[in-house]
């Protein structure tokens, strides 16, 4: 399953090579023209005359850690790459660097903690990665300063429709974009797998500048918050509620015409659909929207619970509905049913 491969691939911001390789391998039978730009964005080109230039974008990078120094004892100190929650780091398995060294984010056992320590979150400065090394020299043979680490989380089905794994934000979007690229549409299609979204939407801006699209669709795995004790009006998206359409987030106001067309298609084809209700956080859509003379953008997301943590969860129904909605939208553009 492609989602499993992508979820388990190693790809923190700035180090997306493994994800790129999975995608190239998976898509080489279906895509003949590829571009790779200076920031590492991977762009699949499927040209078609007499169609608007359509950019589909999904970011490949995930939140991770970076080794910043060694203790004499051989423990590794680290910094965060992207918006991880300090509280979810302790006692997690990670894999580090090109050699994929196994490590554990350690902390003092509860018996040894003072009462006041038990009531506090251990700050990043009190955490370290333990790779079982005996000394600094021992550790340096396996890991270098600047090496990245990501959570070592296996993809698992939880039920017939719900799966768990790391980094569904945004490997879910990558998987949908990959499935789209396996098919043929009568549109001038640019499938951009972007880099460095989690640290400031950095890849998407330069990708959009290079592509110069007429319109863009951003595919995301987004925050799903539908749990107690939040009241319903505080929910962000609902698991199983269908693809989530962003009207506005911190970085972009999505194109009203494109949203209206998505709603029309969803209704016509009985696809459940929801609006993303939280406006906090930005997306690649912001940078694409502001590219050159401006690009109309819409963001479509698969709701994912527990993102930016070692494990996230999504509904395959939402995933498939999102894929189908994108497919319908591209066909609508191809048939001239939707124009800017």
């Amino acid at each position: 399953m492609l989602l499993k491969r992508l979820s388990e691939a190693f790809g923190p911001s700035g180090c997306e090579g493994d994800v790129r390789n999975v995608l190239l391998e998976e898509l080489s039978p279906h895509v003949s023209e590829w571009r790779r730009d200076a920031l590492g964005n991977l762009i699949a080109v499927k040209p078609h005359a007499k169609s608007p230039r359509v950019m589909l974008a999904a970011h490949m990078d995930e939140c991770g850690l970076m080794v910043s120094s060694f203790d004499r004892s051989g423990l590794l100190r680290f910094r965060k790459v992207g918006g991880l929650d300090d509280r979810v780091l302790i006692s997690k398995h990670v894999v580090i660097g090109p050699k994929k060294i196994n490590g554990i984010i350690g902390a003092k056992a509860i018996h040894l903690q003072k009462p006041e320590e038990r009531s506090q979150v251990i700050p990043l400065s009190g955490l370290y990665i333990d790779i079982g090394a005996k000394s600094k020299e021992d550790a340096e043979k396996l890991v270098k300063i600047g090496d990245y680490a990501v959570f070592a989380t296996e993809f698992k089905p939880l039920s017939e429709t719900v799966v768990s794994g790391k980094s569904f934000d945004n490997r879910a979007g990558c998987a949908i974009l990959a499935e789209i690229l396996k098919e043929d549409f009568a549109v001038d299609l640019f499938g951009a797998f972007t880099v460095q979204e989690e640290i400031g939407l950095r890849g998407a801006g330069v990708a959009a500048y290079g592509i110069d699209p007429d319109l863009a669709i951003v595919l995301e795995g987004t925050t799903c918050h539908d749990l107690p004790p939040s009241k319903e009006h505080g929910y962000c998206t609902t698991l199983g509620g269908g693809p989530a359409i962003t009207v506005m987030d911190a970085s972009v106001i999505c194109d009203k015409g494109m949203i209206a067309e998505l709603l029309r298609l969803a209704k016509e084809h009985n696809i459940p659909i929801q609006f993303k209700r939280s406006i906090t956080g930005g997306s690649d859509g912001g940078r694409i929207n502001q590219s050159r003379e401006g690009v109309p953008v819409v963001v479509i997301s698969v709701p994912c619970r527990y993102i930016h943590s070692p494990v996230s969860m999504l509904s395959l129904c939402d995933f498939n509905h999102t894929l189908h909605l994108v497919r319908l939208f591209l066909n609508s553009i191809a048939e001239g049913g939707f124009t800017i």
Binding site: E232, M248, S251, I253, K256, I259, F275, G294, I340
Partner: protein, 330 residues
């Protein structure tokens, strides 16, 4: 000019929903400009040809602050997010209006203390009795603007959306008044300023002007116990020195001051601590564009009752018209 001001301030047009105000401005300026186009972000870009070889971009943003519906509960109450910078203090009890004319009032949940008043405690009541009744009038993602009529106090004017429709009115009047433009003038009525200077950024990219000047409002320090700010109502439009989005290009600032002095137009210098303008986005376009700002002093910005001085507005029209007729030697 007051009639024009009344029309432009009362028209609906929150960020991302500038269609109506754009149509109004299109009609108003059609007799005075040579070309008009609307770009992908909804900016209205009008060209008035002049004698010079240089391009002057003037930007006044059409969008106003608003509220976006995020949830409709089973009793028909609407929850919302702010579109642009809104304070819960100024929202309670205010009326808002949707593009289709639906009116609502902002109410609040029970509060333990007044300081607990936050935007997520507020809701909009459109007089619906159920979710279905509400949904028949308003959908998720719909945006409402402040509902408030224009008030003419004689020397002073109060309205919602003075920020930045007063600048739209000034730009319209200056396009009407200008006799011999020294540039090809690109009058841009921009979109989405309130959410991040977004329209101006892409418009400037397309135009690549030699000089960019934004017209906006600025806050004042002339009300009881206000924060320090050396700008007052009635002392003329300002020539901006800096805000959070830019340090105005010194040559542009001097040029604007020179034009004001030569023509005997009263003006003030403006140092704004917080807040940005379209000029910030214009200045950073491509290889960099010389940029400046003329502001109209305005009290109670981002409330339903923003106040400006009519003389400042008329002087703003004069200054902008003379800027259009004077070549910037940079």
């Amino acid at each position: 000019m007051k009639e024009l001001i009344k029309k432009v301030v009362e028209t609906y047009g929150p960020a991302g929903n500038e269609g109506r105000i754009r149509e109004l401005i299109q009609k108003e300026i059609a007799p005075f400009v040579d070309e008009m186009r609307v770009d992908a972000l909804g900016n209205l870009i009008a060209l008035k040809r002049g004698n010079g070889s240089k391009k002057l971009m003037l930007a006044a943003h059409m969008d106003e602050i608003g509220v976006m519906v995020t949830h409709i509960d089973k009793h028909g109450f609407l929850r919302f997010y702010p579109v642009g910078g809104l304070s819960p203090l100024t929202m309670l009890g205010n009326r808002v209006v949707f593009e289709n004319g639906t009116i609502g009032v902002i109410g609040a949940e029970k509060l333990e203390a007044q300081k607990d008043l936050t935007l997520n405690k507020l809701f909009i009541d459109i007089g619906a009795n159920s979710k279905e009744e509400a949904a028949a009038k308003v959908g998720l993602g719909d945006v409402a603007a402040m509902a408030r009529e224009f008030a003419d106090l004689g020397p002073r004017l109060i309205a919602k959306a003075m920020d930045d429709r007063i600048a739209c009115a000034i730009l319209i009047e200056a396009l009407r008044a200008v006799k011999q433009p020294a540039y090809d003038i690109y009058a841009v009525f921009t979109t989405q300023e309130e959410v991040g200077l977004r329209g101006a950024r892409v418009a400037a990219y397309g135009i690549t002007p030699d000089l960019g000047i934004a017209v906006d409002v600025t806050r004042t320090g002339d009300t009881p116990e206000s924060a320090t700010m050396d700008v007052s109502l009635g002392k003329g439009p300002t020539v901006k020195i800096r805000d959070s989005s830019l340090i105005c290009t010194p040559a542009v600032r001097k040029f604007m001051e020179g034009v004001a002095a030569q023509n005997g137009i009263q003006y003030q210098l403006e140092v704004l601590e917080a807040g940005g303008t379209d000029a910030g986005a214009i200045q950073l376009t491509k290889g960099g564009i010389p940029a400046g700002v003329m502001s109209i002093p305005c009290r109670y910005i981002h409330t339903a009752s923003e106040m400006v001085d009519y003389e400042d507005v008329l002087n703003g029209v004069k200054l902008l018209t003379h800027i259009m007729e004077t070549e910037f030697m940079g």
